[in-house]
């Protein structure tokens, strides 16, 4: 996986911005510290050089002039210093030192106690603080010059291990806290998204807790208001549908009874068929309107036998289709479900396959015991013409039917698939349709274990 420069998540983006800022601030701090540290080191160096130069000068100045070369020769050898006595002011390839450096060195050298009569008659400083060499010429009161050459040690602003450790620890702590705080601040967004998703599946999903920072409380309250409006809307629609369904039952019952007194056998049969159709529509509307799944309690049911039973019932109702029904999969498979709802959902799917696809080949596969969170999968395939792929999702809209089925006698109301999907989603599963490669339609059902 490639790490993108600009991440997708809000938390990652915010963290990235804050961490970049932190990096800039830390880098600046580091530079300031280094400059400061170098300055300090340089001052210490100059102080040291001034002390040494003046000390050597004093030791020689108190001696008679003739003795001095011997004493210089006897000086213990040092790494960074060479000393000699010259008759004239030292002249090197080096430029004269800047005035600030001259003043600083002069000041430092004055701190060294020297009797007034022995003080240097003249001072020359060549080179600069940037090194690598500094030449100091001090003139004895009696004429010759003492020339001292110092090699300046390179500055090491990073020489402090404890500073580096402290710096790394501080940066790491700030980074960790930044990431933690960003996560914490952006988590309400994820909660809101999850709640919206839940609401999409179940309008009666519990309300969002209204707590936390004031913006989050406002968002949660707005979301809850919206959810309750949607709930009321769905509830009203459901009430209306159920009311219509209820009211239609009495006239249908009357007509059924009345048709029993029709002597014309053919007429009565036709009327009863009409009434059956009417009743099927009313019961589908009621099943869709009623929150049937919520009212029924869950229990354990053998889904393999349930599918066989539905196929048996289909074969009983339509003996002509019996040869086109098949089922394979395990002999028994227990699931926890709402038995009547689940049966209605699967009956709708198998009924669609038989009515519009002239066949129902059911395949049941048990979840793999090894894979946690695996699902029960059921496919129901038919041999019909299928559905144009751009229309497939629409079939799950209430009262949606394939155009040609409206005129057919097996038309139905267009609630079978929405009811099946509602029920399966209420079980935590789903159903999708797809065209088979070899022609016909396939309904894929998933159910959590």
């Amino acid at each position: 996986m490639r790490l993108r420069a600009w991440p997708d998540s809000l938390a990652a983006r915010t963290a990235l911005v804050l961490l970049s800022g932190l990096a800039v601030v830390q880098a600046a701090g580091l530079v300031i510290h280094a400059l400061d540290h170098a300055d300090l080191q340089r001052n210490v160096q100059l102080h040291d050089i001034a002390q040494r130069a003046m000390g050597t000068y004093r030791n020689l100045a108190v001696q008679p002039a003739a003795e001095r070369p011997r004493i210089v020769a006897d000086l213990p050898p040092t790494v960074d210093q060479s000393t000699e006595i010259v008759p004239s002011p030292p002249e090197d390839a080096l430029p004269p030192a800047p005035i600030t450096l001259q003043r600083q060195l002069a000041g430092e050298m004055q701190m060294v106690p020297v009797p007034a009569v022995l003080r240097p008659r003249d001072t020359v400083v060549l080179g600069s603080t940037d090194g690598p060499v500094l030449v100091i010429g001090l003139r004895f009161p009696d004429g010759p010059w003492l020339r001292q050459r110092y090699e300046l040690a390179p500055l090491r602003p990073w020489n402090s291990a404890s500073f580096i450790i402290a710096f790394v620890l501080m940066t790491a702590a700030a980074a960790v806290m930044t990431v933690w705080a960003v996560r914490r601040l952006t988590s309400p967004v994820a909660v809101l998204a999850a709640a919206a998703d839940r609401l999409g599946r179940d309008v009666n999903a519990p309300a969002l807790p209204e707590r936390g920072p004031s913006e989050v409380v406002t968002a949660a309250a707005a979301f809850n208001t919206m959810a309750s409006r949607i709930r009321r809307f769905v509830h009203d629609r459901t009430l209306m549908l159920t009311a219509i369904g209820h009211d239609l039952r009495t006239p249908i019952t009357r007509m059924r009874l009345r048709s029993e007194f029709i002597d014309d056998e053919a007429l009565r049969t036709r009327m009863l068929a009409d009434l059956d159709e009417l009743e099927a529509m009313v019961s589908a509307t009621l099943a869709f309107g009623r929150d049937a799944a919520a009212a029924e309690t869950s229990s354990r049911i053998d889904i393999a036998e349930l599918l066989r039973t539905i196929l048996d019932e289909t074969a009983d109702a339509k003996p002509a289709a019996a040869g086109q029904l098949s089922m394979d999969g395990p002999e028994h498979l227990a699931v926890r479900a709402r038995p009547l709802s689940l049966k209605r959902a699967l009956t709708n799917l198998i009924g669609n396959a038989v009515n519009y696809g002239q066949a129902a080949h059911v395949h049941l596969s048990a979840p793999l015991p090894a894979a946690a969170g695996d699902e029960i999968r059921i496919t129901i395939e038919d041999d019909g013409p299928g559905i144009p792929s751009e229309q497939i999702e629409q079939m799950f809209q209430p009262f949606q039917r394939m155009e040609e089925s409206r005129s057919r006698e097996t038309g139905g109301v267009g609630l079978g698939l929405p009811i099946a999907r509602n029920i399966l989603r209420a079980h935590g599963g789903d159903v999708v349709l797809e065209n088979r490669e070899t022609g016909g339609l396939r309904a894929r059902v998933t159910l959590p274990v």
Partner: protein, 247 residues
């Protein structure tokens, strides 16, 4: 059969008297006409109050009760009636309202039909309930029947295995199983089974009894050459060989 010995046991319609309680006037009248045509004596009531009054005045073999009544509900009336008598009750319920139906059956109704019902099915149910109570006396108190490793929940019409898992049955299979457990250890010929199934289901029961039995055996895990639960009797017949407990 021994129907004549029991007080409310009217197996044939001719001597059976029904009390029909429904708030819709036309349905009331049509039901009365329909049942009278089939040879029943019918009295109708428009609400629970009138039902109570008629009940105290007459002798009825079966009550057809609409659950949705104005003022006092059908369930309340059924509860009151159960306090008075064990008379069989067939409920007419709102379509698919599972909770209503279960509540009604738990109150002691003997059967139910969802509105809009098929009148012939209602007739078949009424006859079946009369025959059942005629044979066994009142059966409404029974909510679970146990046999072998199986339990039948008569209210929710479910068959439950020893592991608590429901094994779904078709309507026909459930009726067939009910016939067997009501007549456990009695040999039932194919013709008897067909006749009994006709009494319970509207319309002819087309499917061959043998097919239905083999399906039922498969679901009861009673398959193979020597089925132990639903045994084949030489000479054409079946018997449920199990001890049946009712609760």
């Amino acid at each position: 059969m021994s129907e004549a010995e029991l007080p409310h046991a009217a197996g044939s319609a001719l001597d059976a008297s029904l009390l029909v309680i429904d708030d819709d006037g036309e349905i009331r009248d049509l039901l009365a006409r329909f049942f009278e045509r089939e040879g029943f004596r019918v009295t109708t009531a428009k609400d629970a109050r009138e039902g109570r009054r008629l009940w105290s005045q007459g002798e009825f073999n079966l009550i057809v009760l609409d659950l949705m009544l104005p003022a006092e509900s059908g369930t309340d009336f059924a509860r009151w009636l159960r306090g008075q008598s064990a008379v069989p009750i067939v409920m007419l319920t709102a379509m698919g309202e599972e909770t209503d139906r279960i509540a009604g059956l738990e109150l002691g109704a003997d059967d139910y039909l969802a509105k809009p019902f098929n009148p012939r099915e209602l007739l078949a149910r009424v006859r079946a309930v009369l025959r059942r109570t005629g044979e066994h006396g009142p059966t409404h108190a029974t909510t679970t029947i146990e046999f072998a490793d199986w339990t039948i929940d008569t209210i929710r019409r479910r068959l439950i295995g020893a592991d608590g898992v429901e094994v779904p049955l078709t309507g026909g299979e459930f009726e067939l199983l009910s016939i067997f457990v009501e007549r456990a250890n009695r040999v039932l010929t194919r013709d008897m089974l067909l006749e009994l199934l006709r009494g319970r289901q509207a319309g002819p029961y087309d499917r061959a009894i043998d097919v239905a039995i083999s399906r039922l055996r498969r679901k009861l895990e009673d398959e193979g050459r020597n089925a132990q639960l639903i045994k084949t009797v030489r000479g054409g017949g079946y018997v449920l060989a199990a001890e049946v407990k009712r609760r």
